[in-house]
Symmetry: C2
């Protein structure tokens, strides 16, 4: 079922998410509860990692530092398109990326602009992406090479119907 | 910040989700990865628990049996409305609910109809709901009484801005 190259998978995912402005980012909180919140997707093109802008002192940033497992979900109800990305997140300060993603709107949150000490990027390494397109109940799975060896063998399970 | 009664919280959440046909249900898989998939919301009115129909042999059902922590997220992009529900899920067979939720469309998945031995309901006890309405970056938190004593004290953290 998996015969796409890494580059083809990246391009497929890029095409799927490009019109969706907000994703829901799910993290695990200190009590073990799963919480999600809308995050603005970056206009820069998806290149294999998913990026968001955040502040180092948000509850979410604390959750990621404590437990880096995340899910990013995208919903485009008018196209019946739904995407689930499983991955691991890290908080980074990457000036080149910040230059790429920066918009004057962020000035309201980061008074010191791109040099604001609280500015962070959430960098999410995609482990696995699954998507539902149109009304199909069977997801298409895109396994990314970053998965640990051995994990891929679980993928065939995904071909079962998830009754939605 | 919390002065709604339980009934008022239920009504608020019902109003928020009633036009949204699909939710993304996030679970923790056996490897600890967070996975989500679209689930059709039940037309019956929300009464404090969130319900979905599933089959006992889906990957998702196995994940819930192993780890009952879930997140249910709803996205309505045209209204800039996003909802996060943190809760615990259980798989139940509740005939009165099945009668309430049943639609002939399910016959394709459950050949034996309402008596199909694989038919299950996912019942999610809502612990906490957060929602973003219009372009506000600050979520409104609805804490439900089912939370363990002591958990409520964490809520004030939520009033911080989650930069999205």
């Amino acid at each position: 079922m998996e015969d796409k190259t890494h580059q083809e998978k990246v391009e497929k995912l890029r095409e799927l998410i490009k019109e969706i402005d907000f994703a829901m980012l799910t993290t695990v909180d200190a009590s073990g509860n799963l919480r999600s919140r809308p995050m603005s997707t970056q206009q820069a093109e998806f290149d294999g990692d998913v990026w968001f802008i955040t502040s180092n002192d948000t509850t979410m940033a604390g959750e990621i530092r404590r437990d880096n497992r995340v899910n990013v979900s995208y919903a485009q109800p008018d196209k019946q398109r739904y995407i689930s990305i499983s991955g691991t997140a890290e908080l980074v300060y990457d000036r080149a990326r910040i230059d790429e993603f920066w918009s004057p709107i962020y000035k309201a949150y980061f008074p010191d602009g791109k040099d604001d000490p609280n500015l962070r990027l959430v960098k999410i390494k995609v482990d696995k992406a699954e998507y539902w397109d149109s009304k199909g109940l069977i997801p298409t799975v895109l396994a990314f090479a970053q998965a640990l060896a051995g994990k891929e063998s679980e993928l065939s399970e995904n071909e079962k119907i998830e009754l939605s």
